[in-house]
């Protein structure tokens, strides 16, 4: 009994000693209080005068003390919700290092929302500056990848509404885009995986600053087309529609049809797109695209002296035609730049692994001449909440 007691005391003491030595002497390793870090929400990369260097812009979220008394002071004045820091350096991390000397808090990169390349830098090439975003432990793969229509710095310094922080508002805009189609989700991971496919070309959304009535706001319209790692051109928003229809994975997409007798707006849903690469016996290659879907009529204007039974087939035909046209528009732009933004090469590789060996080397010659056969069948299944339009009623 006594022996048991001694050994148990012995054990308790040694456990306490072990714990206190390991916990107390090592200190709080890696601990960083939340008010000692500056949370970076956006990183912009621009060219600098020196061709070997870049100009890095970091947008840092500002925190305001939430105490009641303190808040009242700052409520009246203009309170920026972020501050922007700049540094010019050879690499990205060294730029952060040099920023650190001007900042009392250490940069915290895990919450970075966007990586924006300035247009000039994008045209010079992005590959050499992407490495750090993949390698460094604080960087995340899910960050949005964007190209600015001018300088990245301008995007990160703009004040937006209602989201005060432009980087956060930008990421919200991009997240909304994915509600239309998953293929519009272009984050660092998607961009890089496109970049490493030998025949494919990457795309990235283009962001620009636009003036509103009394505010400025950011707009994501257009897509930058890359050849290898250099930006070579861009898609207009209509061509982007063509891109979405080709790539599939559409959730819901609005269709706007303007015809001579009137105008109609429809929402397409339940869309199934299947893309099939075909190699004919004579060696001619083509892609067949089959699109099936349903639409609901949301708005019509005009179409005087016509009833609904006449309007629906008219709009349906026009919609199918429009989708076809969009696809062709987008394809011709991609073929002009000789950038396989659709990943057709990869599709051929998957479906015809044997033939691909010979195709691979001449893909640059094959792609501009590639034909797409579309088979589009979108049906209006629902005329909306009302039958005939108000002005139609009058005519009768």
């Amino acid at each position: 009994m006594k022996k048991n007691f001694t050994t148990s005391v012995n054990r308790i003491i040694s456990v306490i000693l072990c714990l206190s030595i390991t916990l107390l002497t090592t200190g709080c390793w890696d601990s960083k209080e939340i008010d000692t870090i500056s949370i970076v929400t956006g990183i912009g990369i621009d060219t600098s005068q020196n061709p070997d260097e870049i100009n890095l812009t970091a947008q840092i979220g500002k925190t305001q003390p939430s105490g009641g008394a303190l808040q009242q002071d700052s409520a009246g004045g203009d309170n920026d919700s972020f501050l922007v820091m700049e540094a010019t350096s050879k690499g990205i991390l060294s730029a952060f290092e040099s920023m650190n000397t001007k900042n009392s808090r250490t940069p915290f990169l895990q919450h970075n929302q966007v990586i924006i390349f300035g247009k000039e830098q994008a045209e010079k090439g992005v590959q050499s500056y992407i490495d750090v975003f993949l390698r460094y432990y604080q960087m995340r793969m899910e960050v949005w990848f964007l190209v600015a229509d001018s300088k990245a710095k301008d995007i990160l310094t703009v004040k937006t509404q209602p989201e005060k922080n432009s980087a956060i508002s930008l990421s919200e805009i991009l997240r909304d885009e994915t509600n239309i189609s998953e293929s519009l989700r272009i984050n660092l991971k998607d961009f890089v995986s496109r970049l490493i496919e030998p025949t494919s070309s990457a795309i990235a959304p283009i962001v620009s600053v636009q003036k509103g009535i009394d505010t400025t706001f950011l707009a994501v319209d257009g897509m930058a087309i890359f050849k290898k790692d250099k930006m070579v051109g861009q898609l207009t928003s209509k061509q982007i529609d063509g891109y979405i229809w080709t790539m599939g994975r559409i959730k819901e997409i609005p269709l706007e049809i303007s015809l001579d007798p009137g105008y109609g707006n429809m929402q397409a849903f339940n869309i199934k797109c299947s893309m099939k690469p075909i190699i004919q016996k004579d060696g001619v290659i083509s892609v067949s695209l089959q699109i099936r879907g349903q639409m609901v009529l949301d708005e019509i204007k005009g179409f005087d002296s016509m009833n609904l039974n006449e309007i629906v087939p008219l709009l349906q035909r026009a919609a199918n035609e429009k989708v076809h046209q969009d696809i062709m528009n987008c394809l011709s732009e991609a073929q002009r730049l000789n950038s396989d933004i659709f990943g057709f090469g990869t599709a051929f590789h998957r479906n015809y692994p044997k033939e691909w060996k010979s195709l691979k080397n001449k893909w640059d010659q094959l792609f501009p001449k590639l034909k797409i056969n579309t088979d589009i069948k979108l049906e209006i299944i629902n005329p909306g909440k009302i039958g005939a339009s108000l002005n139609m009623e009058d005519k009768k």
Partner: protein, 532 residues
């Protein structure tokens, strides 16, 4: 070397506190027969009791010619004087036939007991110790001159609290009776619920000075003899001077005295105890305490309430899972908050991170110190509110809520999310009152771990807790038993319908394992239909 030195010091300190066993027990046990002279007996009693004011010795003369002299000895306050008058004094004095037709020599205690006295509970004794013990337990001793025997007549009657609804374990639906401080009332409350003769109550007295009645209650063939033996042995081993509450017994007999987890259960409600007895557990009823102990006690029992079995199973299961969740929330919220805000900011969603950052902006302390301040002041508030009379307690809670919650945040001393986390933790802790001590201690330990090592520390702490829980045993039954998958799962995370729980807990019950016939209600319903 250093460790050995420390061990020596500490064991030495412990040894000093251990007093040598006292040998008085055997001296008290020495039996001493009664004298046949009334005067001698009374004198020796007076000698033993000294001049205790509450010892009453009432001498009476009775018989046809008042030739018999006797004495009634009792402790004032422990007896019902009306019973003494009605059932002892009146029959003796008013019955003038005593001694008529029989010689005094032929008189015996037996005859008095059987023919004269009007009481349901009498026993003949011959030795002084028994007499004293009986006296002190509220019985009346009847001594008769010329006899070596005495009669112990039950006249217990003292002030006691009524059976009321207990302050703890309140229920919306279900029986509202609670145990009282009175031993006999408590056993009666149990007996009224289990009328089977299999329900056994073994009585003993513990405590050299207090001589407290303690009763081991169990149901024969339902409770394992092994466990009953273990409880009995542990109780018999006790050599203490007093037992003032069942908490004393709990501390002496529990398996892991240094653990934060209780290994002996308690309840204030007879329906709860009856339920546990029917599961095969052993109950320990202690005189003077409204809390009855049960053993073995498993971890999952802390999450079972009596109301679970009174309401329908679906909602009972939901509330039980809610309780389990509240338990984990109560332990882990603050440590996780500390770990997230000092180590793993990348795990917080961006907008939430900015909320946290705004809150901690301008607060002077690291979040661990913040948490310590809040948790400690909460514990102080709780303690203050608990012991004070109710009107003052309310004032305390208002001051506490205002000053602690609002002013501390407004002054920029503590971040608002921390106040929320601690408040949430505190409220969640009250969901499982039985485990409240383990919750507050574990919370504190995990806070230290998470402040030193972050999420890794919490993982280590959790692992330690699980290992400890798995190693605990309560009276030979695995403490963490029903939590791991087994047949008893039907009454752990969920409470299955009563008709589907056919067996008693597997680890605990003995031979009589079957509780009820299982039936499927739908078939029964169709049978009813056919009958009509």
């Amino acid at each position: 070397m250093f460790i050995k030195f420390l061990v020596k010091k500490i064991t030495f300190l412990f040894k000093q506190n251990q007093t040598p066993p006292i040998e008085t027990q055997s001296a008290e046990k020495k039996t001493k027969g009664l004298s046949d002279k009334l005067k001698d007996n009374i004198d020796s009693l007076k000698l033993i009791f000294g001049d205790s004011g509450d010892l009453k010795i009432h001498e009476i003369l009775f018989g046809k010619n008042l030739e018999l002299s006797g004495a009634l000895i009792f402790i004032d306050g422990l007896v019902d004087s009306k019973t003494i008058t009605e059932s002892i004094i009146k029959p003796l004095i008013l019955n003038k036939n005593i001694g008529d037709g029989m010689e005094i020599e032929n008189m015996s205690m037996d005859i008095i007991k059987k023919t004269i006295l009007c009481s349901g509970d009498m026993s003949e004794i011959k030795d002084q110790t028994q007499m004293i013990e009986g006296c002190l337990a509220g019985e009346t001793v009847f001594l008769l001159d010329g006899f070596k025997e005495a009669l112990l007549i039950s006249t217990k009657g003292w002030e006691k609290r009524n059976v009321t609804e207990p302050q703890t374990e309140l229920v919306v639906r279900g029986p509202r009776e609670g145990f009282t401080e009175d031993f006999r009332t408590n056993t009666a409350l149990l007996r009224r619920r289990i009328k089977s003769p299999d329900f056994k109550m073994e009585q003993m007295k513990i405590g050299r000075k207090s001589l407290t009645d303690v009763c081991i209650a169990y149901i024969d063939k339902v409770a394992q003899p092994r466990i009953i033996e273990m409880v009995k042995k542990r109780l018999e081993k006790l050599e203490v001077d007093s037992i003032l509450d069942s908490g004393y017994i709990e501390e002496y007999i529990e398996d892991a005295p240094f653990s934060v987890f209780p290994t002996v259960g308690y309840s204030e409600k007879p329906d709860v105890i009856a339920g546990k007895l029917l599961e095969g557990r052993v109950a320990i009823i202690v005189d003077g305490s409204p809390f009855v102990l049960t053993a073995p006690y498993l971890f999952i029992e802390s999450f079972q309430t009596s109301e679970d079995y009174c309401i329908r199973p679906l909602y009972a299961s939901v509330t039980r899972m809610l309780r389990l969740m509240a338990y984990f929330i109560s332990i882990f919220t603050v440590p996780i908050y500390i770990a997230l805000t000092t180590f793993h900011q990348e795990l917080i969603p961006t907008t939430l991170l900015f909320t946290f950052a705004n809150a901690s902006e301008g607060t002077p302390f690291p979040s661990f110190i913040e948490a310590l301040i809040m948790v400690f002041s909460f514990e102080i508030l709780r303690e203050a509110g608990l012991r004070l009379p109710r009107p003052v307690g309310q004032a305390i809670s208002i001051v506490g809520a205002l000053i602690m919650g609002d002013a501390a945040v407004a002054a920029g001393l503590v971040g608002a999310p921390m106040v929320i986390a601690v408040a949430f933790t505190a409220v969640a802790g009250f969901v499982i009152p039985v485990q409240i001590d383990s919750v507050s201690i574990l919370r504190f330990i995990l806070m230290v771990f998470s402040a030193a090592l972050g999420g890794f520390g919490i993982a280590i702490g959790l692992l330690g807790i699980l290992v400890h829980l798995a190693s605990l045993k309560s009276f030979g039954v695995d403490y963490f038993g029903t939590v791991i998958p087994s047949q008893d799962l039907q009454d752990s995370f969920v409470r299955m319908p009563l008709w589907s729980m056919s067996g008693r807990p597997k680890d605990i019950a003995y031979i009589d394992k079957k509780r009820r016939k299982t039936f499927i209600p739908s078939t029964r319903r169709s049978n009813d239909h056919q009958e009509t």
